[in-house]
Every structure is written in structure tokens, then in C-alpha cells.
């Protein structure tokens, strides 16, 4: 089972030079859209659309919970300008065909990636779970709970994490954190997702420069 790619600009999941970009075949059953506008095609086993903070439904349209076809969303996790990780979040809708999920998984796993399947909900798995934690850590920093260095050290030594919340969110970009949390806040409207003050500052300064 091969894949083809329709690209428009550089993709975050598969940046220029990524081996995956070179693995395309001519008669592909799976089509992957990287930044390009989706063109529906029922004849394909699966069509994958790279997502930012938007829902898959924004590309496919929705139908009272009955939406779903051979089109899936996806995002490969990457923190800031770090190299993309092996993790791909594959986004399905309620009526997405099982065969489409299987086809999408097959091409991504053949490329050495690990696929997790999630519903078309804001933040998918990673952003939904890590953004509130980064917000809390940024708030703790403002409130003087501990220094950034000590919070990071505590998470590395006490919890065995590869890095701490402050160093990670800063490496990913505080302005980017602002954009992601703003998108999440638009959906959930809970304080946990409201952009942290330090992220707002970073965004304001980004606009200025």
C-alpha cells in the first residue's frame, strides 16, 4: 500500500528533507495533504489531512455526529523546532471507516511511526493534556511557588520526565503556546486552557517585532 503527497508549503509533521516525503509511490491508495486544500476522493483507501489546532470537521464538514468517511486528520508531535517525534495522532470521526484507519496506520507505521487514534476533539491527546499543565507551571512561576529551574528539576528527578514543563514550553515557544491554548480556550472556556500571562506577553512581543 503506497501513499502520495499533496503539499503546499512546509509541513510541521514532515519538514523538508524528512525521509517520509521521499517515500511516495505513483498509484497510491493513500493520499496525504500537507497544507493543501482537501479534494475528496472515495476511490482512495484513506485520505489524510495534516491538522494544526483546527478540527478535522473544518475540512470535511460535519453532520450531527454522523460524519465520517475515508478522510482522517493527523498531526505528528513536535515541540517547537525540535525534530518531529515518532508519534502521530490520527484523528477520526464517529463514522470514519475502519478500513481507512487501517490503511492510514499501515502507511505511517511502515515509515517507522507510532500511531494513536483519537476523536476529533480540541487539542487531540497531547495538547489537551499538556497545555493545562504548562499553564499551571507558568502560573506557579508567577506566584513564586518555586524557580523555573527547580520546577523543571523536580519533574525530571521526581517524576522521571525527560525535561520539565517550563523548559519544554519555552522551547516549544511561548507565543505558540498562546496560540494553542487560545484555540483550546475558544472550545472549552475553562481557566485551565486560558493562555498563561507569560504566553500572552510572548505573543504581544511577537506581534511587536
Amino acid at each position: 500500500m503506497g501513499y502520495s503527497i499533496v503539499a503546499n508549503g512546509e509541513s510541521r509533521s514532515f519538514p523538508n528533507g524528512d525521509a517520509f516525503l521521499a517515500g511516495t509511490t505513483d498509484k497510491a491508495d493513500v493520499v496525504i495533504y500537507l497544507g493543501a486544500e482537501l479534494v475528496a476522493d472515495d476511490s482512495k483507501a484513506a485520505i489524510l489531512v495534516e491538522l494544526g489546532t483546527e478540527s478535522l470537521g473544518r475540512h470535511t464538514g460535519e453532520a450531527s455526529g454522523e460524519e465520517g468517511s475515508n478522510v482522517l486528520g493527523f498531526a505528528r508531535y513536535r515541540n517547537g523546532s525540535d525534530a518531529p517525534s515518532k508519534l502521530v495522532e490520527l484523528v477520526r470521526q464517529p463514522r470514519t471507516k475502519d478500513s481507512a484507519i487501517a490503511a492510514a496506520k499501515a502507511v505511517l507505521e511502515a515509515a517507522g511511526l507510532t500511531v494513536v487514534v483519537c476523536a476529533d476533539q480540541a487539542g487531540r491527546i497531547i495538547d489537551r493534556l499538556v497545555r493545562p499543565k504548562y499553564n499551571a507551571a507558568l502560573r506557579f512561576l508567577d506566584e513564586g511557588l518555586a524557580t523555573a529551574k527547580d520546577m523543571d528539576l523536580t519533574c525530571r528527578l521526581g517524576l522521571g520526565y525527560a525535561d520539565g514543563p517550563i523548559e519544554r514550553v519555552e522551547r516549544g515557544g511561548l507565543a505558540h503556546h498562546h496560540d494553542v491554548t487560545k484555540a483550546l480556550f475558544d472550545v472549552f472556556a475553562t481557566p485551565a486552557y486560558a493562555p498563561a500571562r507569560r504566553a500572552i506577553v510572548a505573543k504581544q512581543r511577537e506581534k511587536k517585532t
Partner: protein, 293 residues
Amino acid sequence: MISSIKTVAVCGAGGTMGAGIAIVAARAGFSTICFDTATASLDRAAKQTEGFFAKSVERGKISAPDKDAVMARLSRTTKLDDLAAADLVIEAVFEDLSVKKDLLGKLGKVCPEPTIFASNTSTLSITEIASGSGRDDRVVGLHFCLPAQLMKLIEVSPGINTSDATLNAAWAWCEAAGQLPVKTQDKPGFILNALLVPFNNDAIRAVEAGVASPADVDTAIKLALGYKMGPLELIDLVGLDTQVRLCEAFYPVTLDPRAAAPPLLTRMVAAGRLGRKSGRGFYAYDTGKMFGG
């Protein structure tokens, strides 16, 4: 900084944390009094400690004579009066404010003026635990991580009335014991649990909301963030009932919605799905096998 502390007492030394803290103290050269109200727990902990050091000798981490010297520094008692000899008392008794306050109140009468009291509480306030001790300027939070005998980190938290001298002495003791202290304010969960408990709840809520399966949530977190365990695996390990208790400790104090127990969690506990210990939590376990076997 050199520690002026020579003798350490550990209250609740028959328990999980207390036994580990006693190992840390004795290994670092401190004369260590292990105190617990339950003799059987003290005896069990002593056997485990012996086993721990026997393994350390086997692995070449400590010589046999050094092991004997460490073991000789450990004494056991169920009599509170024996703690009069301690320069530093670390309490790791049940996570219950009245139990801890009561203990520190009694210790306040037993121990000499300069003795410092430290609490290993995970969720309670150091300031509240210190009140009633008669020496709240000499009470400090020393939060060890599980397993204490292996983890270097200690969250050090001064209460509102803790003196700088007490904080400095406790800090120096942590370093002398070969540990790595970090300073935090006396706030619910300090750093570690303040970040962890709501995060774990969020993972439960994601499963509850149908975002993804527990296995996919855990895989995503481990792979993306480099965590050794996924949040749902971790909750299964510590126990879903423990997670409920953590929520019950945090939510009324912080009123942070993320700290409130998710409905799925309380329902799973009601259904007897407590995690590894009951054979089923977010995952199913073969209860015939011992963990790590």
C-alpha cells in the same frame, strides 16, 4: 554547609516512606531511630531494610562492613520518649492532619528545644501541621519521593512561621544525606503533586470524554514527552482509590476544577477497579503474577 544534626528520628518508620527515609539517614552516617506505633510494621520494615542492603552488597554498591555499620546505626522503638535524643525528627505517619498535629504536639514535649521537626506530607499544609507543636518556627516540610531510598529529590517547604535557621539546617541536612533539595512554598502538593494530580485527572477525563483509549493516551504521552509511564498506567500503579484521596485533599483547598475527582474515577473505585492491586483498573492485570515478576 555542614549539618549539625547527628541523630535523626523517623516517625512511621514501619511504613513505605518512613522505612525508605530511615535508610537514607542511616546510609549517610546519621544515627537513626526508627519509631512507629505498630511493632509488626517496624519488624517488617527492618527485614526489608536488611534485604535492601544485602542486595546493595551483592551489587557492589556498598561493602559488607559498611552495610554492618549502617545497620548498627539503625535502632527501633515504639516509645515516643526515646525520640528525646533526636536533633531532627522526620514524620512520615498517616496522611491525616489530626494524626500529624497530635504527634508533633507530643513530640514538642519530649524533644529538646533545638530539635527540628520535619513533615513528609504530600498534600497537607506545613503551617497547619506545625501549629500546636509549640515550636512552629522549627517545623519544615521535607517531601521525599517514592521510593525514598532511591530517589534523590526532596521538596523543602518552610511554613509561614518557619525560621531561616530551621530552613537552612534542614537544607544542609538534605545535602549531607546525599539528597537534592529544591525549595517550594507551603502550597497544596508543593511542585510535584500540584502538577501531577490534576494532570492525571485530565488524562482520566480524556478517556471519559472518548478522546482516546487508555493505551493510546499513555502511548502518546510517553512517546511525545519521554515520560517513563503514561498517566493511566501510573494511576493503576498508585491505585485509583489513592488518586481519589489526593483529589479529596486538593480540591477543597484549591477549588481547582482539574483537582476534582473525575466521575469516571469515583465510579471505577466503586466498581472495585482500583488498579494493579485489585487486578483491574484502566488495564487488566494477571493477579496471579507478582508485580515485576
